[in-house]
Symmetry: C2
Subunit: 505 residues, 2 copies
């Protein structure tokens, strides 16, 4: 059995853990338990699952000190950030509790028997039901909120699908402790083993998505990871959906009016957004389009000062540190100038300096318009907003696109830019920054390839849809229907004979 | 340029048409027009598109005589069936008109800025927007309702996505005439070329789904066709969703109480359902589980008489005829006995005899539990309902599963059977037959692999979701938002700060 090791990125030292990589027989046990747990979880019903999610949130919070300490030692992300991330993780479980109690997510619809242009139509009742056990691949950069205790897990459990986590190799102990906190809450509400499980090792991850028990997979990670998982899925006789949140450049356009009006303030915002969490956020702004005018100059000067006077930051692991450094070098070789990069003591761990690069609009090549994970941003200087449309259409599609406007900026220009961004992004941010993804009903965290491979979000209430499938009952007797589809049930929103009933009774 | 030919299945004769297979330059023109049309169609708005869909329905109906005649000559499906199918096609366009006017399908959600456990949350507004041009692969067996004038086209246009049809080679003239009827209606409402287009030839189909303009593909067809299309999609740098409705066995369980109570009536229903449209329906019941008791004997005897005294039926094309005959032979070689098969004059075309096969429950092999497209049904005789659960779990997942109950049947037995079927089907039919798919809000036409590859339906109001993606606006000024997301807009259902507002204002 291969022992799982963990590395503290602050000193770069690798240590053995008590955990071992999951072998095939371990995977079989996990899959069998998940399959059994699926029936219990589905049978628990919406309100029962909401209570379970609340219990999970409370359990995570009750172990906050230990969980945050474990994550600090494995990720190098600071205490404040990790503390807040645990709050976010708990919030996600509680939000899905609300989603379940509301019940609109099942999309209940009833068409009573009726005469139609094609003759007598039968009674039809439809709602969404759980897909079955789901494989969730934890992310490197959010040891809580996009990992074992993350949004994919919360959405899967809310949907009624047991979650089998593939722990990210960068934080196995945090993953283990998170699964333990979640499992404890599930046991407390009477749940069996198998509602949540965790596997370790790349091979186990591939075997997991090939296993017949698994009905869907979710990943927050790299395009390369998604390709490897998809290749494993393609070996199955039966395809299953892979919901992958991947790579994102997140262009920000600062219009001349905004630069003139509040260039320094925008510079502060950009600095905070691209360096937060060591720039290791999928919504990190990678490209900032800044006008070549006095307002833009002031903005860039402020940004340069802030970057130049900042310190080093510890990245999550050696691979990310190396990719960051080789990415920065590649950008420079492709023609981006170093605008600011402080000298920092490399230290023993995976510490790097933030990098601000600059390039003129004509110099923005495909190499430079790529994602570089870590505290790097490219400022692209433009002379005329009319040039932006064509260039933005060549930037890879992203999770987000942002526009900063000032009082002087023409609304037609804004509208055209937003049209261009909207075609290539999942969220349009006005006068703000893409980092800090609100967990709520209207959130969308997704976008055209390569930012995701899906037409669904991975954050927010509607992310539950990924783990559900429709099921219809035709001419069913009342007693066999789920309560959500019986006549007279008014606790949830339903569409009855085409008319939406809001379920506020 | 390769000339497209057409075959009348009633006499098997191949004739040249005026159509030619679409070459690469033709495809480029088509793609460019679709791309331009996408903006027009999206800009038309919900109500504008609803009017367009109504106009399409009216145009199809105004050409009913010619369309039905064209389809008769190319499919051999009877006049009555095709006439009804055209009604169904028009109904689908009108239903999506209703869906658009209702507006709930955009899933509008607004979260106003608010304090959250993670600090101040921004204003977020989300709705579904069109994916962009869609490739639709017409089916052999529904020249209208699942082809050029079919549900996928209607759903795509409703969503705001131009549709590029790949005509099924079995009915090119019907496809052409359908596209002409639809195109005429679109021109009448001021639409450009490219809102709907049609391509001919297998190579054009593959090139179509590889084209960067195409953002999704939909298919009603075989597993083999889906694999070929997916292989072409896999050559793209950017994956696009393929929504495929494929193969389905549609098991029907007749419980002892139903056989005793109304065995002859069930036999009549089964006969009608498995022979309708020459058994060339994806919801055709392929396996009927009938008890080995006097009620079951009477049922089977009636079925045998009905099949034995029936005539031949013309299948859609030579390939389907050959696959039907070799499929029946394979079932017999695997141990199914011929229970009834009338002698019919083979004639000049693709005429075949319906086939009723019979096998004991222990003899039901994987070969026999497979789909055989055409007028073939296997009666599986069982001694004890307790045996059914395990066997049903080995039948390939299907679009539907059906149960016939009688007054004597135990409700616990029914419940257990329904649980087994629900895990492996998209629609559970009680005391009825799976053919005759109602077009309505609560319909679900889909199911686990191999019946579909998707967690979405291809029939009914919610099939529009396949061609939409979420888009979120953060802190957007009111004037740039779509009207559906502005404060105070009450024409559609929306979720505002988590609370569903039904939009009945």
């Amino acid at each position: 059995m291969n022992v799982v090791s963990t590395v503290d990125p602050r000193d770069g030292r690798r240590r053995a853990t008590d955990l071992t990589e999951t072998d095939e027989s371990g995977l079989e046990v996990t899959a069998a338990r998940a399959s059994e747990a699926a029936q219990w979880l589905s049978g628990l019903g919406r309100v029962g699952r909401a209570e379970m999610l609340d219990a999970i949130a409370a359990s995570l919070e009750s172990r906050r000190v230990d969980l945050v300490a474990a994550a600090e030692a494995e990720t190098g992300l600071g205490h404040a950030r990790l503390d807040q991330e645990l709050t976010r993780a708990a919030l996600q479980f509680r939000m899905f509790g609300e989603v379940l109690r509301d019940g609109g997510y099942v999309e209940a619809a009833i068409d009573h028997a009726a005469d139609t242009p094609l003759g007598r139509g039968p009674d039809l009742r439809r709602m969404l039901v759980p897909l079955g056990p789901v494989a969730v691949f934890g992310a490197s950069n959010f040891p809580f909120a996009f990992s074992v205790a993350g949004g994919d897990t919360a959405a899967a459990l809310a949907a009624g699908c047991p979650a089998v986590l593939k722990a990210h190799p960068s934080h196995p102990l945090t993953s283990h402790a998170s699964a333990d906190a979640i499992g404890s809450a599930i046991r407390d509400v009477g749940g069996p083993e198998g509602v949540i499980a965790i596997v370790y090792g790349e091979q186990a991850g591939r075997s997991l998505v090939r296993h017949p028990t698994i009905r869907a997979a979710a990943l927050t990670g790299s395009v390369g990871a998604a390709r490897a998982i998809q290749a494993a899925i393609d070996e199955r006789p039966d395809p299953i959906p892979l919901y992958a949140e991947l790579s994102s450049v997140n262009p920000i356009v600062v219009l001349p009016g905004a630069a003139a009006d509040r260039g320094e303030k925008v510079a502060e915002g950009l600095f905070a957004s691209f360096t937060a969490s060591g720039g290791q956020l999928c919504t990190k702004p990678g490209l900032a389009f800044v006008p070549s005018d006095p307002g833009g100059d002031r903005l860039v000067e402020t940004l340069r000062e802030r970057v130049g006077s900042s310190g080093g930051t510890v990245l999550l692991n050696e691979r990310i540190r190396d990719a960051y450094e080789s990415g920065a070098t590649a950008f420079e070789q492709a023609g981006a100038r170093v605008s600011a990069r402080p000298q920092v003591d490399p230290g023993a761990g995976f510490s790097v300096a933030p990098t601000l690069l600059e390039v003129g609009l004509p110099g923005l090549t495909a190499e430079i318009a790529d994602e570089c994970f870590g505290p790097l941003m490219v400022v692209v200087r433009y002379r005329d907003v009319a040039e932006l449309d064509a260039v933005l259409a060549t930037v890879p599609s992203s999770l987000t696109g942002s526009v900063h406007r000032g009082p002087e900026d023409d609304s037609d220009v804004v509208r055209r830019l937003v049209d261009v961004l909207a075609a290539r992004a999942g969220r349009i941010v006005f006068d703000g920054y893409p980092t800090g993804v609100r967990v709520s009903w209207a959130q969308h965290h997704g976008g055209p390839w390569p930012s995701t491979n899906a037409v669904h979000t991975s954050v927010g209430a509607t992310s539950i849809r990924r783990f559900l499938r429709p099921l219809a009952w035709q001419d069913a007797p009342d007693w066999i229907l789920p309560e959500e589809l019986r006549d007279g049930y008014t606790a949830i929103p339903r569409r009855v004979d085409g008319r939406l009933e809001s379920g506020m009774a």
